[in-house]
């Protein structure tokens, strides 16, 4: 088992009073709490801080922690024989630290199953832990509906009487229904951690994120695509093959089309929850060849000489 320095995690001395520990916790919680902080490592840091606080704020747990001795953070160690028996009555949930393998145990699991908590937990129905995950899916999968495989680790209670909390891998597939939007949250009931003593299983909160598409942008259930067109297609009109998520369609570009016009292709967006579909909007962008040929230049010069069109009448 690896040693964790809870005092160091909270930035306090081992002689700190409960009040000093609370103040240090609150300051760090404001800094790192995942619902408050934007620090990408905030959640991880807050877990360390919360784990340290949950042990040090409880006088019995703190005494048992101090009884472990002090080691450099991360160093492998074993609790002393009969550890916990002085500080917390029944102490360690196994009843006796001697002869028990601590190799695969996390220090937080040891305290989670400690002493009075454990005796209480053996009697009380406790709901399993909730988890939050996110998964990325393609627009094609959002359109057709898809199945994703979710892999994460859940906490489970060990055998009755041993009290150890184990971390076990949890893998299953779930259907992502048609109609999801980017950032959609789904609740999967009972797919979190196992409940204890008849308590309900925890839930899984899943956020669906769309992988950016090389052609389409998303606005709710509508899709947008930039549609490059040549100046002569814009001027004269044309029929252009436009890709959609379900195959290309022919789109008629009216004559005298300007840049930035939105042309609607009905029901070629993402499915909605009510069996309807969003639309696809093609946004025109007039583009020129990187280099005009001599003949093209001559024709355009001829056009400029005979045209009376003023694109900037509002500048006058």
């Amino acid at each position: 088992m690896k040693y964790k320095d809870y005092y160091q995690a909270l930035g306090v001395k081992p002689t700190a009073t409960l009040d000093e520990i609370k103040k240090a916790y609150r300051k760090l919680a404001h800094q790192y709490h995942p619902d408050v902080s934007k620090d990408p490592k905030g959640e991880e840091k807050f877990k360390e801080v919360a784990e340290a606080y949950s042990t040090l704020k409880d006088p019995e747990k703190r005494a048992a922690y101090d009884e472990l001795g002090h080691y450099p953070a991360g160093q492998e160690f074993r609790p002393p024989p009969n550890w916990g028996s002085q500080s917390a009555g029944q102490g360690f949930a196994g009843g006796n630290a001697q002869g028990f393998s601590f190799d695969d145990i996390d220090l937080s699991d040891l305290f989670a199953s400690f002493s009075g908590d454990q005796q209480q937990a053996q009697r009380t129905a406790t709901a399993g832990q909730d988890y939050e995950l996110s998964t990325d899916i393609s627009l094609e999968d959002a359109h057709a509906g898809s199945t994703v495989e979710l892999n994460f680790t859940v906490q489970e209670q060990g055998q009755p009487g041993q009290g150890q909390v184990k971390r076990v891998p949890h893998t299953f597939k779930t259907r992502i229904p048609k109609g999801v939007t980017n950032g959609q949250k789904l609740l999967l009931r009972g797919k979190g951690g196992k409940g204890f003593n008849g308590g309900r299983d925890g839930n899984l909160y899943l956020t669906i994120n769309f992988i950016p598409h090389r052609l389409f942008r998303v606005k709710d259930h509508d899709l947008l695509i930039d549609l490059p067109i040549s100046p002569w297609e814009a001027a004269l009109g044309a029929t252009i093959k436009v890709p959609t998520l379900t195959g290309a369609v022919n789109l008629k570009i009216p004559a005298s089309t300007s840049s930035g016009q939105k042309l609607r292709i009905a029901k070629r967006g993402l499915p909605k929850k009510n069996e309807e579909f969003g639309d696809l909007f093609a946004i025109t962008q007039i583009v020129l060849p990187p280099k005009l040929s001599e003949q093209e230049q001559a024709l355009l010069k001829q056009l400029s000489e005979i045209s009376t069109f003023d694109p900037r009448p509002n500048f006058e």
């Binding site: 919680a29 909730d130 959609q184 999967l188 606005k219």
Partner: protein
Amino acid sequence: MNTQRTDSMWLDEHHTISLDELIELSGLSIKDLQNLLESGVLIPNNRAEAIWHFNSHYLVSIRALSRLKQDFELEPNAFALTLVFLERIRSLEFELHTLAQLKH
């Protein structure tokens, strides 16, 4: 590995959740939820009916509120105000997310 099919619940403005489900899933007590209802920051869709339903998106903010209450020991006065800000943040983040998708 098992395969779960369609027992997911949508958490958004188009689906509803009952008060009992909100209590069960959020981790808040009836008293906490009454506080939010009395403050007018949690509003049922069908106030005139006997069994109230709420937009299921509330569950996202109320779970965050439950975590904040536990981790920061929020006072009752700060409690309802925190939900107002959480809902505002949720709405702004959704708009930012949509704008980011449109820009890429």
